[in-house]
């Protein structure tokens, strides 16, 4: 009996001494790298951009309905679909690289702040406000999400459907058509055209004109993830917070900023997990294959960051005055995640993805 007991103990000790094995062999890891790139393009990026242009189409329909029937019901429907459009857009910001950046889609849609002085003179002018006139304006602060947000909510959020003037209606119709055009072009840029960016990503290291190695595109993805943490934590949140200034909050008319921020990080999570409407292989699988504890750490930090936004229970405009601890916690969570992505995920990619 004693001997059996001893044998069991010794066996246990030896098995504890055994080196941790990595799951799968090198060949599997090589296949996985390609699968992750394919799934990032086909399961995450393209479906999200397609949803974006679909959400822009919804919004455009609701704006058209509000234009012809200025009822409170139509106004709230338009507001709701604006928020829906923002949700997808902010999630797409989890991977801000490629055409959205190189071809300036971002400033065409998301320029901030709204130029009140110019907007007033535009409304007071005899500019026909057709889509072509909007496209000819010399500043982008008169185009995109935020001027139309201003029309739908008004400065104080008390906009009524009846108070939207005929010229404002004309302007909002052109603005939503402009958003639809841009989101559609952005979506197509990943699928077709000269660039066919989706293909450039998928063929990284095997014929891509932009990425001569797979490592480069993985680093671009990781960098984009780190950058969105920085933009939200150190930019969009920190600036109004530090200045005690609610006038410099991102979506000030709709009070949508906290949701905007959270969706940015949800978008980052989608990229890491390779999952959007359908599940696929993500960077998580590559990391887990070589370093389970790093994968767990990143997943846990993403979850912590996303959940931390729920502690901010009032609009961001108010929270910078009376929920400063909660904001500080979120900014800290974002900084922690950003540091892990820059100081551990990027070196991981450099070490294990060398082709």
């Amino acid at each position: 009996m004693k001997n059996i007991f001893l044998t069991v103990i010794i066996c246990l000790l030896f098995s504890a001494c055994r080196k941790a094995t990595t799951t799968g062999n090198n060949e599997d890891f090589g296949t996985l790298k390609q699968t992750v790139l394919n799934d990032f393009v086909d399961n995450v990026a393209i479906p999200q951009y397609q949803d974006l242009s679909e959400a822009a189409l919804n919004f455009n329909n609701d704006i058209t309905a509000l234009n012809t029937g200025a009822t409170e019901q139509n106004l709230s429907k338009a507001k709701e679909s604006w928020r829906g459009l923002r949700t997808v857009w902010e999630q797409c910001e989890g991977f801000l690289f490629g055409p959205v950046e190189d071809d300036n889609y971002d400033p065409y849609m998301d320029t901030w702040p709204v130029d009140y002085v110019q907007l007033d003179s535009l409304m007071a002018s005899s500019n026909p406000l057709n889509i072509s006139d909007i496209q000819n304006l010399s500043t982008l602060s008169l185009r995109g999400f935020h001027p139309v947000e201003y029309i739908l909510w008004g400065v104080d959020g008390n906009r009524t459907a009846a108070s939207i003037t005929a010229r404002e209606k004309k302007y909002m119709v052109s603005l939503s058509q402009d958003l639809l055009n841009n989101t559609t072009a952005l979506s197509n840029s990943w699928i077709t055209g000269l660039g066919n960016f989706g293909k450039q990503v998928k063929t990284a290291g095997s014929g891509s004109a932009l990425y001569s190695k797979k490592q480069e595109v993985f680093l671009a993805i990781a960098q984009a993830m780190a950058d969105i943490c920085d933009e939200v934590g150190s930019g969009k949140m920190a600036e109004p917070f530090e200045a005690f200034d609610s006038s410099i909050v991102e979506s000030p008319f709709s009070n949508n900023s906290v949701i905007d921020f959270k969706n940015n990080i949800i978008g980052l999570g989608n990229v890491y997990n390779g999952t959007y409407s359908t599940s696929g292989k993500g960077i998580t699988d590559l990391v887990a294959a070589k370093n389970v504890s790093l994968d767990n750490k990143i997943k846990q930090q993403i979850t912590t960051a996303i959940n931390s936004f729920d502690a901010i229970s009032v609009s961001y405009e108010l929270a910078i005055f009376n929920q400063r601890t909660q904001i500080r916690n979120t900014m800290q969570a974002l900084e922690t995640l950003q540091t892990t992505l820059e100081e551990e995920l990027k070196p991981f990619i450099i070490q294990y993805i060398t082709d």
């Binding site: 702040p113 002018s125 500043t139």
Partner: protein, 460 residues
């Protein structure tokens, strides 16, 4: 005399130590230094589209905070005054934010008048200079042709840019196509003079400027060879320009013709001329005295704290590390770069001086590939618009660090002062004047050697 044994032992041990201490420090050998560190100790390792956007490694938390404040303002879109944030755009301007032209802190797109255009047009009267030897403003237009305006305000006009193609055939029968730009001024709100000077400029990359500012003036002057005493066909001379902050003439380091003394003056003049945002260094609207002037009397529109933060941001943007430095082709290209004397102007290695406020800038061994001097680049590149001491044919040697990353940071890369070159090869082929010899040698290289040189440039 009997010397104690212990004394001898001590002496034997201590003397070499003392002698070692007397030994003069020696420089490291080339092969002991990491060639990737183009920006010295603060070099950043990133080869993505964000490669130019990082702060220098090793700055302290307070400096990092100021850098961050400047970063967000660099990206901030300016709007018409009065506004709660980023107030003061226009009335006439070339673009709405720093980042609109300096895409990802790098270069941009060679076009005019659209929201993502990175070109501006400097203008001035012909054959006349101001009290400091600088260009003289055209009445009704100023020193820059602002082709955009806020709603309801008439821009100064429109610039039309066309290209004409021509072919160059290498001895090995390979053909390169160069596009030559032509500029036309249209729809001006009031007529321009019959004859005037103009110079198109594309926004250059802005990282690494803190290091360039930290190069001792004596070092830059030591590169100058105004009368070409060494007979290598390359002269190189400094520009001396007016600094409105110190109110004296200083060595020009920045701007495509070295017509700006410091990063802060560069940033301040860009705010005022490019965006119409007045500041303490340039307190007058660019449209002052013109019908477009808003008459708001709200100068300066930009607080000094923001001007300083943005200048600090630019000064502390890190230089990206080189890639593929051990690749045989790249190393061959590096040798050719020196052999055909590209390095005559594009100085590979320079040392910075001391900046007591920023240790990461101090005593750094950097690889900017510039001498910061003016060189005659020949007729084909000439803008024929003198700028302080720079003649109409002279341009400042641009730094080459980061040049291999432009495709990543910009989507499509463009090279030279006006973005006419679409490839590095085209950029080399445009070289003339003092660089004609090096260009000539480049065309006579074998296909493999030409490729090696390009691969070397792409590793920067």
């Amino acid at each position: 005399m009997k010397v104690k044994k212990s004394f001898i032992i001590t002496a034997v041990l201590v003397l070499p130590a003392i002698l070692i201490m007397c030994r003069k420090p020696e420089a490291f050998n080339e092969d002991e230094i990491d060639p990737r560190l183009s920006g010295g100790i603060s070099t950043v390792f990133d080869e993505t589209s964000q490669a130019f956007t990082h702060h220098m490694q090793g700055i302290n938390i307070r400096d990092l905070h100021v850098h961050g404040l400047g970063d967000s303002r660099f990206e901030g879109t300016f709007v018409t005054a009065p506004a709660p944030v980023n107030s003061g755009l226009g009335p006439v301007f070339s673009n709405v934010s720093c980042i609109s032209c300096h895409h990802n802190d790098g270069k941009g797109t060679p076009s005019f008048g659209t929201v993502n255009s990175s070109m501006l047009m400097r203008i001035s009267l012909k054959d006349i200079e101001d009290a400091h030897g600088g260009p003289v403003a055209i009445p009704g237009f100023g020193l820059q042709f602002q082709d955009l305006a806020t709603f309801g305000v008439q821009p100064e006009g429109k610039v039309i840019l066309n290209y004409t193609d021509s072919n160059i055939t290498f001895p090995d029968k390979e053909i390169a196509t160069l596009r030559s730009p032509q500029y036309y001024f249209e729809n001006t709100y009031t007529p321009l003079p019959a004859n005037f000077n103009f110079s198109p400029r594309m926004a250059p990359s802005v990282f690494g400027t803190g290091l360039l500012e930290a190069i001792p003036e004596a070092t830059i002057l030591s590169f100058a060879d105004e009368n070409d005493k060494d007979n290598d066909g390359i002269s190189g001379r400094p520009n001396y320009v007016w600094n409105p902050e110190t109110e004296r003439m200083e060595l020009g380091r920045f701007g495509l013709k070295a017509n700006t003394p410091t990063v802060k003056v560069q940033v301040a003049s860009a705010y005022q001329q490019d965006m119409g945002v007045t500041n303490s260094l340039f307190p007058q609207e660019s449209s002052h005295g013109q019908p477009q002037y808003d008459g708001r009397n709200d100068e300066p529109e930009l607080p000094d704290s923001i001007l300083n933060a943005v200048a600090f941001y630019v000064r502390t943007l890190a230089v990206p590390a080189r890639r593929n430095v051990t690749d045989a082709t790249v190393k061959q290209g590096e040798r050719i770069f020196t052999q055909i004397n590209c390095s005559g102007c594009h100085k590979p290695t320079v040392y910075t001086g001391v900046d007591v406020t920023l240790s990461v800038l101090s005593n750094q061994r950097i690889h900017p590939y510039t001498d910061l001097l003016l060189h005659d680049m020949g007729d084909a590149l000439a803008d024929n618009r003198p700028d302080f001491l720079a003649t109409g044919k002279e341009w400042r040697t641009p730094p080459l660090w980061g040049v291999g990353l432009l495709q990543k940071t910009n989507g499509t890369p463009f090279y030279l002062h006006d973005g006419r070159a679409r490839t590095l090869e085209e950029a080399i082929l445009w070289h003339g004047g003092e660089a004609a010899g090096a260009k000539q040698k480049f065309t006579q290289l074998s296909t493999a050697d030409r490729n090696a040189l390009i691969q070397f440039l792409k590793s920067l």
